[in-house]
Amino acid sequence: MALQSLDIIRRSATTLPEPQARGAHAGQVAKLIDVSKCIGCKACQVACMEWNDLRDEIGTCTGHYDNPHDLSDQSWTLMRFAEYENPKGDLEWLIRKDGCMHCADPGCLKACPSPGAIVQYANGIVDFHEENCIGCGYCVTGCPFNVPRISKKDHKAYKCTLCSDRVSVGLEPACVKTCPTGAITFGSKEDMQQHAAERIEDLKSRGFDQAGLYDPAGVGGTHVMYVLQHADQPQLYSGLPENPKISAMVGLWKGISKPLGLLAIIATAAAGFFHYIGIGPNETDEQDEEAARRELEKTP
């Protein structure tokens, strides 16, 4: 969603730097999701629908509490319910609010071939500008968290905007505003890290020795972070990747192969051109025609 009041620092498929003068000197923003405080009420899903005017289709029950059962162009955030039996034999209900993680090094932006369809603001938000989206789905290929969804109606990519429209006018994201337990908080990334540290200390005092902050370094850190009771096993939380990073294949495809590929084309064309200039064409002259006729006369 286009929002020019936020400063764009990175733009997809753009080879030169964006205007750099205005930075985010007050610090970048982050949303902190404290999984240990989440009660699974789905108010955040409703707030997201309301604020962004999204209405997903009424789905069917697939045997668990996830509803809808996956992210979609109409569902930009989703509570994922995981039942975990801990070593003590107790059941833990690990409810993770899934959605875009707003990576500092976004795989979607790296993969996107359309200039300005994906942007990163100075405050850290990664946003899709659907008017520039061509619907190729490369963002889906590039994302380490399986977040972007292509609409079947308009073939554009959609995902959580971190309410960039609200943030740009000093409001917190809709899900943060509505969360009744304070499980979702929003502020500067530094403040959120501090807040997380307090929460982790509290969790540790309650016996969650492995409690920790999920802010994966493999993607340069994220602007959506989780406080996890079991930070050593993020995959318990409906398959949260343990060490997410931009896939090496995407890195190769969108990195070195671009200049190398063009260079190969230019070199091949140049080799042909200079061969023509240096050695010249291979021509058939009258002598060849003569030789051909002679050979024909010889053969019976």
Binding site: T14, P113, I134, G135, V140, S247, K258, A264, N282, T299
Partner: protein, 213 residues
């Protein structure tokens, strides 16, 4: 129609083959332009030739199908002339004579020389790679059936095959410009006796024998 020609000429490509070749060639050019547009940001402006980014994304895979299907017919017609023979390996060993226009030093050549045969195989392999990987990354219809790892690999493979093919076709086009008289074989269908004798002597004998019968 007059059967007499000013100069002695041999038919190298029938009209159907020529039309087939140019369907492949035109689709290839459209595919290379639209594919490069989506590959490198510096070439994104090429999407304007196709009516913008979304149209480029929509058209590219369909044009790809046209090229592959057209090539199946062309390949079926030409493959038996492209089987590598012992003399072809000798021809390749003398590649210096080839690029320096010392054709008299080379072994005699059939309808296709070793370079053309290798090009044929390069095209076949690239097209198989492009078709299979292209289906996997065709987001509107097929990508949903594959895991993201497979899609990532297919994206890379698609780009790799495309670059090999583009470079191979540049060599192919240059060879046609370099060896004078070649373009006419694919536009008008015929070559002169001298051209056939000089560049494809075994085929020259075969074709003239057939013509006299």
């Amino acid at each position: 129609m007059s059967t007499e020609r000013k100069r002695d000429e041999i038919v190298r490509y029938e009209p159907a083959t020529r039309i087939n070749h140019w369907i492949v060639a035109i689709s290839f050019v459209l595919l290379a332009l639209s594919g490069l547009a989506l590959f490198h940001p510096a070439l994104f402006w090429l999407t304007n030739l196709f009516g913008g980014g979304p149209w480029t994304r929509i058209l590219h895979p369909f044009i790809g199908l046209v090229m592959v299907i057209a090539f199946v017919f062309l390949g079926a017609k030409l493959w038996h002339e492209n089987v590598m023979q012992p003399r072809d390996w000798q021809w390749l060993r003398q590649i210096k004579d080839v690029v320096n226009n010392r054709e008299d030093a080379l072994p005699e050549v059939g309808k296709y020389n070793a370079g053309q045969k290798l090009l044929f195989y390069a095209i076949v392999l690239c097209l198989i790679g492009l078709l299979l990987s292209g289906i996997v990354i065709w987001r509107a219809y097929f990508a949903v059936y594959f895991s993201v790892e497979v899609i990532r690999f297919a994206s890379l493979l698609h780009a790799f095959c495309a670059f090999v093919l583009i470079c191979a076709i540049i060599v192919h086009i240059y060879a046609a410009i370099w060896v004078k008289g070649s373009v006419k074989a694919m536009t008008r269908g015929t070559v002169s006796y001298g051209w056939a004798w000089k560049h494809h002597r075994l085929w020259f004998r075969e074709a003239t024998r057939a013509q006299r019968k």
